[in-house]
Amino acid sequence: MATLKLKNLSKRYGKTVWGAKDINLEVNDKEFIVLLGPSGCGKTTTMRMIAGLEEVTQGIIYIDEKDVTFLPPRKRDISMVFQSYAVWPHLTVSDNIAFPLRLKNLKSAEIEKRVKEVSSLTKIEEYLERFPRQLSGGQRQRVALARALVVQPKVFLMDEPLSNLDAKLRVKMRTEMKAIHKKTQATTVFVTHDQAEAMSMADRIVIMKDGSIVQEGSTDDVYFDCEDMFVAGFIGTPPTNFLSMELGEKNGKLLLVNSAFSFEPIGENYEILKNYSGKQVIMGVRPESMQVFKEKKPESVFSREVLVTEPQGSHQIVAIELDDQIVKIVAPPFPKVNPGEIVHIGFEHDRIMFFNPETEKRIRKA
């Protein structure tokens, strides 16, 4: 297994359209990294450049410290699972899996052994002699996985491999693939637009937007410590609530004010905001970092009428209206909150993130 390094990697289509722009990334040995972003963010382009399927406009790709930028795919020592699986329809399952091995001129006994191993790992031993058209989508996906695993590559690439499966199977495959990764310890780059998938599988998540990396880090990093408003809004369901606040000063104390309420930034938040007096900031609060009370409490900051509630079993989502904007709050399942009811709302102050409304970047302690 190996490391992967991307240096200033860029891809330009035509004269002005950038598919990927200045991507810098280091993937450690045995790491499972997920490229996450909305469609068109450049994650697939990046992966295809790593695979050698897309020509690089600019930048360098290193696999194990070796420059592979201009090597054809077959010389890069990688393997890949395609979104559409790309299982060859004219070959049987076992021929599909053995294909890469045959090209390496391995002995047939060795090939057989490895096909057997990998097919038991991916649970497709029964289908080895079938043709792809006789398999279901999920089974084909396993074949693609087996084919990619069998070569024991330096880097393992997966381009949205689960997106064509139905919801239930997808969740199941997530767990299985994670288990397989644990076993094989392959350095993996996994592309997806599904944040749940990313968060549950990744050692490290790389979030991309408009061809560039906006943030990278562990699941907790990208969830709780967002680099900018895009990440905060993209990660999490329901997404982060953004409230536009003005930072005023009253009696020598800082005060966050909007049309409905005001409160004093305390602790860490004070340190962060102390240079922003008199300016506009955007406050980002995760729905579960807000609290809903039936009675007025000291922690509650303001009161509002409940617009709708969405019971979810394990919790309930309470929606209120604030400045023509829907704010969603995740509350415990009990006590039940009803639409029309007046509730009192508070914040977990140490979970609030502040953003600069112009740059949309996170405001951090100076």
């Binding site: 695979a51 399927l53 795919p73 395609f82 979104q83 329809p89 004219h90 294909f99 084919r147």
Partner: protein, 437 residues
């Protein structure tokens, strides 16, 4: 009550379905009937093809009758005509070999000399054994025929008289008598006619013999190739031209088709419309200057020259078909092969090509048909080495009248074209409509 409504609804549905299927059958009939007739005419002998009305069904054997002509040493051979429902005299003569050949040409039945000799021997033997009876019968018949003759005269006379007296008041009695006479004559005539029929019926098996001979269905095809100048070399030439065209169109057009399916490039739209452009300038108008160009290259009046010209249209079509075939094969399959160890070319050869093979075969057949059927350009571009359609065309334009031979030529032309078309129908529809069936 509701049961009744349901029943009525079902009946209505049934009627609707029946009408629908009748409609479909009607369409199929309209399409197939002319083809059926072309086919059946191509199997008909001269005698059948020029019979009126042309028999609607196909026959597989001829029924012949042979009888000695009294007072001569000659024999009369007749063949049964399904249209006339009677035997038609074909030839009268004594030379067996000439008769055999004539009959073979006329009826496409293999009437051998032995068969004729056999039949003659049989009819002679028959005549010997029954000569007395035959003589009496012939005499009786001739007597009866004489009687009919005189009866006919009487009838005519009576009719004339009747027309004179008819309507006159004083002549009523006369009229009555004339009418009675007329009635009697006609009754007598009827009886005698029946009698003659009976005698003839008795006579026929005594002095004539019948035999059936199987028809040689493909006689016209053989004759066509024998009669028309050059048709076998022309057929071989046509196949040669078609194969060359397939080769040129598939290599050159296939490459473009692949580029079309896999890449974005400038000028793609122009190339895409090339099918249209190429068709706008009449093929024959291209063929005329091509005569000189090909002559310069030393290809004039040679199969390669023809296929070079045919390929212009076929390449355009091949681009369309192959592009749609390659588009149907996901590019990921090729990319996967590259990732797992193939070169770009290797991925194409080992993955895309085998998957595209059925489609490419269809495209090849389509080019084959196009080249095979091409007539207009071939007329201009050939001089001493015509292709098969040119030969058929010349036979049609030059030798009007040999309907069944022309039909045989036409069917020979049509057969491979229709066969291939049905084989590749899926691809043709896909290409034309841009839709899958």
């Amino acid at each position: 009550m509701s049961h009744k409504v349901l029943r009525a609804k079902q009946t209505k549905k049934l009627i609707g379905r029946t009408i629908f299927y009748m409609f479909i059958v009607f369409i199929i009939m309209v399409i197939l009937l002319p083809i059926y007739f072309l086919l059946s005419i191509s199997f008909m002998s001269d005698q059948e093809a020029y019979d009126w009305p042309i028999p609607l069904g196909l026959s597989f054997q001829g029924e012949f009758k042979i009888e000695p002509v009294l007072g001569t040493s000659e024999y009369l051979v007749s063949v049964y005509s399904r249209s006339q429902e009677a035997y038609m005299s074909l030839i009268q003569g004594s030379k067996i070999d000439q008769m055999s050949e004539f009959l073979r040409n006329k009826t496409n039945c293999n009437v051998s000399e032995e068969k004729l000799n056999e039949a003659i021997a049989e009819v002679n033997a028959l005549y010997e054994t029954n000569s007395n009876r035959i003589n009496t019968l012939t005499e009786e018949i001739s007597n009866l025929e004489k009687k009919i003759l005189s009866l006919n005269q009487n009838i005519i006379k009576a009719k004339r008289n009747l027309s004179i007296v008819e309507g006159r008041e004083s002549m009523e009695a006369v009229e009555e008598k004339l009418r009675a006479d007329l009635k009697q004559y006609e009754a007598e005539k009827e009886i005698i006619t029946v009698e003659i029929e009976e005698k003839k019926a008795e006579l026929t098996p005594l002095n004539s013999t019948h035999f059936k001979v199987f028809k040689n269905l493909f006689a016209n095809y053989v004759t066509f190739f024998k009669v028309t100048r050059d048709s076998i070399p022309a057929l071989m030439r046509s196949i040669q031209v078609a194969l060359l065209t397939v080769f040129i169109a598939l290599t050159i057009g296939g490459m473009s088709g692949y580029a079309f399916a896999r890449y974005v490039f400038k000028g793609k739209n122009i190339l895409k419309l090339s099918t249209l452009f190429v068709r706008m300038f009449p093929g024959i108008a291209i063929a005329m200057p091509m005569v000189i160009i090909l002559a310069e290259m030393g290809f004039y009046d040679k199969p390669i020259g023809l296929s070079l010209v045919y390929s212009v249209g076929q390449i355009a079509l091949t681009i369309w078909i192959t592009a749609s075939i390659f588009m149907g094969i996901p590019v990921e399959l090729e990319e996967a092969a590259q990732v797992f160890g193939r070169t770009r070319v290797g991925a194409f050869i080992h993955i895309t090509l085998p998957l595209a093979l059925p489609g490419l075969a269809a495209s090849a057949m389509y080019a084959f048909i196009g080249s095979w059927a091409e007539t207009a350009q071939a007329i201009v571009l050939t001089q001493f080495n015509p292709t098969f359609p040119v030969v058929v065309y010349q036979t049609m334009v030059g030798a009007k009248g040999m309907v069944n031979l022309i039909a045989a030529g036409g069917v020979t032309m049509a057969l491979p074209a229709v066969l291939f078309t049905i084989l590749i129908r899926k691809y043709i529809l896909q290409m034309w409509g841009g839709v899958k069936v």
